[in-house]
Assembly symmetry: C2
Homo-oligomer: 328 residues x 2
């Protein structure tokens, strides 16, 4: 509890754990607010991370929180710039784990090209848990207008890689199932900036997180009031994740990722966009999985239709129920 | 737990509780990141709020979190503009309490002239607690350079009102002590913008929060490596808070506020600055409590000296120990 006092112990914690890793000129001013250069148009986002366990195959809450915030900014076409982090530590939180988590944050921030410019630490009673809020600011280049409702009839739908990996990795660890599935948690700023600097007129970007691909696509089809057609056999799923899902009766379409995006682009840019994504870091398994259509009747406006491998059609809705709790 | 799924229940919660109160054009786009106009120089800050109880005399966690973030931005001379909020709800959190907290946030945001532009909700197991992270962006006018280390010898130290109120209110409620002490949680943007628009060359601003006035002033004296002299009889303390402290053996100098600031300004602007603060909302009890001196020897560099009412001198340090946990 003393580490949350705002006095001596809080200062020690900040110096020993956070400053050592997050070192930069702005943060080292140790002000409650950072003053940084701005831009004409900025993007802002916030996310709290409550994942359990804190460390999992392929990542940890530290890598996850930076990726989540970086990716949310990228999905508006922004160049991620600054991150703030707020820690809520439960009494008994392991200092060595915290140290590793903070190192992951610093490493991932470097990879993503963002600076951690302000922070805050609170301590609550509890069982040693760590919650992290990361909020971020990015700069939005002129003439960029990427948002959920911007899909147009004829657009193609690209997913940047295998779905369900993060969810399957977390669940495997919780169930002590022995496999080599690892989380896909990754920052996607390089993939997105490659699309934008190639002048692909991207209509929609969305990272595939809680709720999985189906929830995300359904939200996008509803936002545009168009009909999304996707094809089961085109949706990339890792073989091991697929058998894991088969055994447990899970549907990868509703399982979260933390390093995958959906891009919706005009048909004439489809192959160019796909190539850019496939040659980007974290995009080698990308595929075109469907297309956006004008609704042919009222019930199709906002529909998400899965065309199955055996030739059937299923209307997909957003996730019902609690899914897998505390996945991010 | 279902409210944290990212699916149907999360969407319902956001629409019913948050959207109704935080309604604005940016937020209603329902994107994971908001795109907003920027400026040449921006200030960024973050704070997590874990106060218990959630509602207390004079305020609640909702008013507190907006005030805290607004005030952190103001302390750099910024005009607060945009707030993001991240909620962590423990299972069993009372929906009616959440509704009232969210209304407080909306009311306080309106008072402070800020827009809530992005949000996030997570659910964890627990005992019905609510944690809120608020992060903020403000615009910093040209030629403004207000920071901790900028105090100069000869400057005067102003405190904007009675100290210890928030701490005393929280503690009274936890101990079920019957008095009329209320928290001072308040947004200070009007006070600060009045100082700046009157061209007062403010050197340092700092809000008095965790650790209390002594901790804050000691951090500032260390940052400038100058010697701060303050005078006990000039420090404003509400009579009821003073007797409460006397009974419990508490020192108001180490008790947190949530709506008070310290301003350090050149001596020649002292009375003008004091008048501006005294005529601002929340500043009527402001007083000049001391001055900044060049250190006359090595041990005085960074010292904070309290000149007591009976003519003695005490060197004050930052708060040791845990103070009152979960005060903000």
């Amino acid at each position: 509890m003393e580490h949350g006092s705002g006095g001596r112990a809080t200062g020690d914690l900040i110096r020993e754990i956070f400053e050592a890793q997050f070192d930069n000129d702005i943060l080292s001013e140790m002000e409650d607010a950072a003053v940084v250069p701005g831009d004409v148009q900025i993007a802002m986002t916030t996310d709290s991370f409550v994942v359990t366990p804190l460390q999992f195959p392929g990542g940890d809450i530290g890598r996850l929180c930076i990726c989540g915030t970086v990716n949310d900014l990228c999905m508006r076409g922004a160049i991620p710039k600054y991150i703030t982090c707020g820690f809520i530590l439960e009494e008994g939180a392991d200092i060595e784990t915290l140290r590793q988590v903070v190192k992951s944050m610093a490493d991932t921030a470097r990879e993503a090209g963002v600076q951690i410019v302000a922070g805050d630490t609170k301590v609550v009673d509890g069982n040693g848990g760590i919650y992290i809020n990361t909020s971020g600011v990015g700069f939005v280049p002129k003439n960029i207008d990427i948002k959920s409702k911007n899909a147009k009839p004829g657009d193609v739908i690209i997913v940047s890689g295998n779905i369900g990996d993060h969810h399957a990795a977390i669940l495997s660890q919780r169930m002590s199932i022995n496999n080599t599935i690892i989380s896909d948690n990754a920052p996607l700023q390089q993939m997105v900036s490659s699309l934008i600097s190639a002048n692909i007129p991207v209509h929609v970007l969305r990272d595939v997180t809680r709720g999985g691909l189906a929830t995300v696509l359904k939200e996008l089809s509803v936002a545009s009031q168009l009909c999304f057609n996707i094809y089961e056999e085109k949706i990339p799923v890792d073989l091991q994740v697929e058998s894991f899902c088969g055994l447990l009766g899970l549907d990868p379409l509703y399982m979260g990722n933390e390093g995958k995006l959906v891009a919706i682009v005009p048909q004439e840019y489809a192959s160019q966009a796909l190539n850019i994504i496939k040659t980007s870091k974290y995009g080698d398994k990308a595929n075109i999985i469907g297309e956006v259509c004008a609704p042919d009747n009222v019930s199709n406006a906002g529909a998400l239709i899965l065309n199955t491998e055996i030739g059937g059609q299923r209307y997909l809705d957003i996730l019902q129920g609690e899914g897998l709790p505390r996945i991010c």
